[in-house]
């Protein structure tokens, strides 16, 4: 037990600020891997919710084809919502979030890393499984492709916006649902563009407009969200 204490290491002179994002990303991915089969869970959730609708609205093929894209998008949106607590809340509960705030790396970079990690473990897998659901609802070829493309562009935005909501509601009681309240309205544009694009293909129209709007959201979010979320974090922990 009482072995000699190791000599502490000298501080490494210069701080490579950029590593901040990487450190946070690596950390969160490690944690996701530790929490067994999280990806699988997010997927399963999507599939299940999507499969509930026909049970609720009835099996008419035409009707289902009509609402297919909408259902998939809403389901994806809820799946992201359900996984948001992983982003900050769990770190807040066990006190590791304070440590992240006190880390020498710039907070926005750390947040960016965490957001990326969240997308890789939710949005991306959702995008990849979406076609499966599309088929269930009788979508084909191009329709599926655009659905996927839309999700690919849209889900990162969901994670970004979600990060802000998650940071703001940190440590509040009933945070999960409160967060939903803050975040869902902000998700509306993404939903409209994404589902809209898919809908246009079905109506044999050109979806590029919607898709490029999604792309714009993505760029803007990538620039603004990390800073907003970082600010929110500082407020919540004061």
């Amino acid at each position: 037990m009482n072995a000699v204490l190791p000599v502490a290491i000298l501080p490494n002179a210069e701080l490579v600020v950029e590593r901040g994002a990487w450190v946070a990303l690596k950390r969160d991915l490690k944690i996701s891997m530790a929490g067994k089969g999280e990806l699988a869970q997010a997927l399963a959730f999507l599939v299940i919710v999507a499969s509930l609708f026909p049970l609720a609205v009835g099996p008419e093929t035409m009707l289902l084809k009509r609402i297919a894209a909408g259902v998939v998008w809403v389901a994806a949106l809820l799946a992201v919502l359900l996984t948001l607590p992983r982003l900050f809340a769990s770190d807040y509960a066990d006190g590791t979030l304070e440590q992240l705030l006190l880390s020498p790396y710039p907070l926005p970079l750390i947040v960016a890393g965490k957001i990326l990690g969240h997308w890789l473990t939710t949005g991306l897998p959702l995008t990849l499984v979406a076609p499966l659901l599309g088929v269930q609802y009788g979508l084909e070829g191009a329709e599926l492709a655009i659905l996927m493309l839309g999700l690919l562009l849209g889900t990162p935005v969901l994670s970004m916006i979600g990060a802000i909501g998650a940071a703001l509601t940190l440590g509040l009681r009933g945070a999960s649902i409160l967060m939903a309240l803050l975040v869902l309205p902000l998700y509306v544009p993404v939903l409209i563009f994404g589902a809209g694009a898919a809908g246009q293909v079905q109506a044999a129209m050109d979806p590029t407009a919607n898709l490029s709007l999604l792309g714009a959201c993505l760029l803007f979010g990538a620039l603004a969200a990390p800073f907003a979320a970082a600010a929110a974090l500082k407020i919540s922990l004061d």
């Binding site: 037990m1 009482n2 072995a3 000699v4 204490l5 190791p6 000599v7 502490a8 290491i9 000298l10 501080p11 490494n12 701080l15 600020v17 590593r19 450190v23 946070a24 690596k26 950390r27 490690k30 944690i31 530790a34 929490g35 066990d94 006190g95 590791t96 304070e98 440590q99 992240l100 705030l101 006190l102 880390s103 020498p104 790396y105 710039p106 907070l107 500082k234 922990l237 004061d238």
Partner: protein
């Protein structure tokens, strides 16, 4: 290793109230390299709060913390590098193994530590065989000991420790005192909130915060 280059920490007129009650008003003290400040006082007198203010986690109503002349920008990167804060909670990810936890923490502190040093530190705090155990399985005291390992490996000159000896057994407390001793000996500084006597071979000053 030595921090002798290090400027002194000075607290200038810190004032903070919680609800109706003023926790501390117009606090003034300096802390020089190589010495520790022990915060004492009954439960609820504001030790934790003060530590959080110094760490930059909480904003004081007035007054400021300076690091050698320069005002302490709360959460300013360069200054955060100098300071290590251990709060009431052990700050472990339950689902990660002990050493994963430790290396994550060190990564976030931007300390580069090789695997052997890490293993040695864990062994030194008595978690040698539990290195690969999930943190959630650790006993209360063992969780705190991970924090001790982090102290052992930290190169940060300023430690802010909130009741670091909670849940530690006698041997753990002794270990902690040795760590602080070494740290101060190397020219570090520490602010420690505790209810235990801190008899170590290094200059230790105390301040009592007004009763709650």
């Amino acid at each position: 290793m030595t921090h002798s280059s290090l400027p002194s920490l000075s607290v200038r007129g810190l004032t903070l109230s919680r609800g109706p009650r003023r926790l501390f008003a117009d606090l003034k003290w300096d802390l020089d390299a190589g010495s520790a400040m022990v915060l004492r006082g009954p439960n609820g007198c504001g030790k934790t709060t003060l530590l959080r203010v110094i760490a930059g986690l909480t904003r004081p109503e007035s007054g400021e913390v300076r690091l050698g002349g320069a005002p302490w920008k709360a959460l300013n990167a360069e200054q955060r590098r100098n300071c290590l804060y251990l709060g009431h909670s052990a700050a472990l990810k339950e689902e990660l193994s002990v050493d994963a936890n430790l290396s994550c923490a060190l990564d976030c502190d931007a300390e580069s530590v090789d695997a052997d040093a890490l293993a040695a530190a864990l062994a030194a705090v008595g978690l040698g065989e539990r290195r690969h155990l999930e943190a959630r399985r650790l006993s209360q005291g063992q969780k705190r000991r991970v924090g001790l390992a982090r102290l052992a490996l930290s190169a940060k000159p300023m430690w802010l420790l909130d009741e670091p000896t909670n849940a530690l057994d006698a041997e753990g407390v002794a270990l902690f005192l040795r760590l602080v001793e070494r740290h101060l000996g190397a020219g570090g500084m520490a602010c420690i909130a505790t209810h235990l006597p801190m008899d170590i071979g290094a200059p230790v000053r105390e301040i009592r915060l007004g009763s709650a």
